[in-house]
């Protein structure tokens, strides 16, 4: 079978020595982790490897010999290296030798116990040790170690290098008995900024946890749980968003270290999302408060509300006349039209009552934009909902009337045909009615039928208005969701350090020479941006679209009230 040797490219110029790494017998491949240089005492090497094995749970052993001769091949060295094979008995004993600066190395194996002495083909695969160590494979297989053998072959290699981090901690300036060459042998890498941040984060987390526990204690107090207030909190999207962000802060400030890669990425993404949110919010706030724009906004609010009310009144007058040339039932038309007109009149009076306070309220509410852009957008959405409350009321009235009418019509239609809805059996059964029942039923049916166009028209107009408001609010919520769930840290990591997020590997065939083993370069194939967003998306509190298009149309036709977005915790219908 073919023997695969994974050789780290940092060891290509190392001095002669022996190769240590992991032998994966199921795949017939050897993963070389480092080169141990002469002089060494075999007993000490075995001791060191035993310690490494105990700490990392990776079965590291001596795999072969490596000779890098600057001049011509030395005969005595090659015999010495073969003898080493008897001291560190490993099956098969791999011998790699490089002459001068040649790119083409010769690689051979010594098999002492094999019955068939056929020369097996050797593939030499170079890999970048640092990148393979830091990279994380997707789809991630977070097994505890048992399933790792069944996992894909290449993830076993990545796993081996990643878990042998302690092997790479000694560099060549250490005074130990063993001299190794690996990617960190020129000096252990570290970053001052990262260390400082780690030290500073512990007290910062404690302070934040304390503040958050105070805040959540206040929020959970009984005072805020009384009926009108709790109803208000559940309806305002601002409170949902604030609660969501509070949860995020709690996740970041928790003292437990992240267990695995996914949790670490999640924490980092939440942190970046909060940071960007607050930064954008402060930017918005500075823009709003400069040149007193918020004052201008407050001044235009009342005229806009007046304008909307006037437009609605014109619309109702049009409906009360002959809208689009249709002939309405005069009496019902007048009743409904006057009823809605009175409503608008009430609403406008309330708005005018509030008008002196609007500027002050808006000024203080605008300050809360410093909590984040998402909070500001949610406040905007709530303000729109409050200002168009009359449209919502009209929609509910129109829908209820229409719904009643439709149910009445369908039930009387069944009576007209001599059938009845059986509640117990949940189906339509035939039924014999008395003559007076049939007479009244048919009369009512005719009345309802001829009044249908009027009610249907009012229902249609107000549903369209309501849908318009819903679409505007929906767009705002979409934007809020985007800011909430976008994994910015993962995206930036994919842009700058693409080897950290690996979807797989790719091989490049290097120059070949006849008689020498096949040379391949293994590079990391990074995850696509779509894959990154899908894997690391932050979960949000809203789930939409709630209804499919078909069920939405059915609800509209029957006059049932539609609630376009339902949050996960809501149980009412």
């Amino acid at each position: 079978m073919v023997l695969k040797v994974f050789f780290p490219s940092c060891c290509s110029s190392a001095d002669s020595g022996i190769l240590i790494g992991r032998w994966i017998s199921e795949q017939n491949s050897a993963v070389i982790l480092a080169v141990v240089h002469f002089p060494f005492i075999p007993v000490q090497v075995k001791q060191y490897l035993g310690e490494v094995q105990r700490v990392t749970k990776v079965s590291v052993s001596v795999l072969g010999s490596w000779s890098n001769s600057k001049q011509e091949k030395e005969e005595s060295l090659s015999e010495f290296l073969e003898d080493l094979g008897t001291i560190f008995c490993h099956e098969p004993w791999i011998q790699i030798s490089k002459e001068g600066d040649s790119k083409f190395w010769s690689c051979s194996t010594l098999q002492k116990h094999s019955k068939n002495p056929q020369k097996e083909e050797i593939i030499l695969v170079y890999y970048d040790q640092r990148k393979v160590m830091l990279s994380h494979m997707h789809p991630s297989l977070d097994t505890a170690g048992q399933g790792a053998e069944d996992a894909s072959k290449l993830s076993a290699i990545f796993d081996t290098v990643a878990r042998s981090q302690v092997l790479f901690m000694t560099d060549r300036y250490d005074e130990g008995p063993i001299k190794l060459t690996h990617w960190q042998s020129d000096g252990v890498e570290a970053s001052i900024i990262v260390e400082l941040l780690k030290q500073a984060s512990v007290p910062a987390c404690m302070v934040l946890t304390f503040l958050l526990s105070l805040l959540s204690g206040i929020c959970r107090s009984r005072v805020l749980k009384f009926w009108p207030l709790s109803f208000l909190w559940s309806k305002l999207s601002t409170c949902e968003q604030l609660g969501h962000r509070l949860q995020h802060l709690q996740i970041i400030s928790s003292n437990k270290k992240a267990q695995n890669q996914n949790q670490l990425m999640r924490k980092a993404n939440i942190f970046m999302s909060l940071l960007i949110d607050v930064a954008l919010g402060i930017l918005l706030m500075s823009w709003l408060y400069r040149k007193n724009r918020i004052g201008h906004l407050a001044d235009t609010l009342i005229p806009v509300a007046d304008h909307v009310a006037e437009e609605l009144q014109d619309l109702l007058q049009w409906l009360m006349g002959a809208p689009a040339g249709l002939k309405m039932n005069r009496a019902l038309d007048q009743v409904l039209g006057r009823f809605f007109l009175y409503h608008i009149h009430l609403w406008i009076s309330y708005i005018h009552l509030l008008s002196p306070f609007i500027e002050m309220i808006l000024w203080y509410v605008g300050l809360s934009a410093c909590l984040g852009l998402t909070v500001a957008l949610c406040i905007l959405s709530d303000i729109i909902a409050l200002l168009t409350f009359h449209i919502y009321c009209f929609y509910v009235y129109g829908a209820r009337l229409y719904c009643l009418k439709i149910y009445g019509l369908s039930s009387l239609w069944r009576l007209f045909r001599g059938k009845k809805w059986n509640m117990l059996r949940q189906r339509v059964d035939s039924c014999s009615y008395d003559l007076d029942q049939l007479f009244i039923g048919t009369l009512l049916f005719t009345i309802l039928l001829f009044l249908l166009p009027t009610t249907a028209l009012y229902y249609l107009v107000f549903t369209l208005l309501r849908l318009l408001v819903v679409i505007v609010q929906g767009l705002i919520h979409l934007l809020v969701d985007l800011i909430d769930s976008l994994p910015l840290y993962s995206l930036i990591l994919r842009l700058c350090r693409s080897y950290r997020l690996a979807a797989g590997v790719k091989f490049r065939v290097l120059e070949q020479q006849d008689g020498k083993p096949l040379r391949l370069l293994m590079q990391i194939n990074p995850l696509s941006y779509g894959g990154v967003v899908q894997t690391y998306r932050l979960p949000t509190y809203s789930c939409y679209p709630r209804d499919s298009w078909a069920s939405l149309c059915k609800k509209l036709f029957l006059g049932e009230l539609i609630y376009p977005w339902k949050h996960k915790e809501d149980k009412q219908n």
């Binding site: 083909e121 790719k506 091989f507 065939v509």
Partner: protein
């Protein structure tokens, strides 16, 4: 050793197949489609600009011209980077896996590597595409639960769509290497 032969694609466009044997168990097969022709590029650009000039003559708004230039540039970049595939290649390394690469005209390469443990077989399939029946080469992936089942079919050479004669060459090359993996483990078990 490298050899190049000319074939035709399913739509009649000339394509070239290049085989390289790197070692006894490693082969690279690349299908190269026709490059972007200067005359089609100039034809498209002239058409867009003539239309823009006509609009400008009607509307007297110079934004139309700059918009046309912008659209042409952006369209060309998008076409070269995301649409036009110059070469599709298959690298079969026995006992490691199969690597499928598509190289775009802008130099971008998108690579997928499938490990040998997941590959069940490489076969030529038929497909009904509009009014034609075309042949395509595909890799069958093993189902982890069902040893006889196929979990996924990965079609190869989708943009160059070679005809059956070219596909047979590629198929024979792949099968020579894939057969060795079936005979390999058995011989090493005779110990």
């Amino acid at each position: 050793m490298a050899e190049e032969r000319r074939f035709r694609s399913a739509s009649g466009v000339p394509i070239a197949l290049r085989q390289r044997q790197h070692s006894a168990s490693c082969r690279e097969l690349a299908v190269r489609g026709p490059r972007l022709q200067l005359r089609s590029l100039s034809a498209a650009t002239s058409a867009v600009w003539l239309a823009a000039y006509g609009l400008f003559a009607v509307s007297e708004n110079s934004m139309v011209l700059s918009a046309a230039i912008f659209i042409t540039l952006i369209g060309l970049i998008i076409y070269l980077h995301f649409v036009k595939i110059d070469q599709e290649s298959l690298l079969v390394i026995g006992s490691l896996g199969i690597q499928v690469t598509s190289s775009y005209a802008s130099g971008k390469e998108s690579t997928t590597f499938i490990e040998m443990g997941q590959v069940k077989d490489v076969v030529i399939n038929e497909a009904i595409h509009m009014q034609k029946v075309i042949y395509y080469l595909c890799i069958l992936l093993r189902d982890p639960e069902d040893p006889q089942g196929v979990s996924e079919v990965v079609p190869l050479f989708q943009s160059s769509k070679p005809r059956l004669d070219c596909l047979i060459e590629v198929y024979k090359s792949c099968q020579e290497i894939l057969e060795k993996r079936k005979t390999g483990p058995q011989s090493s078990e005779i110990k």
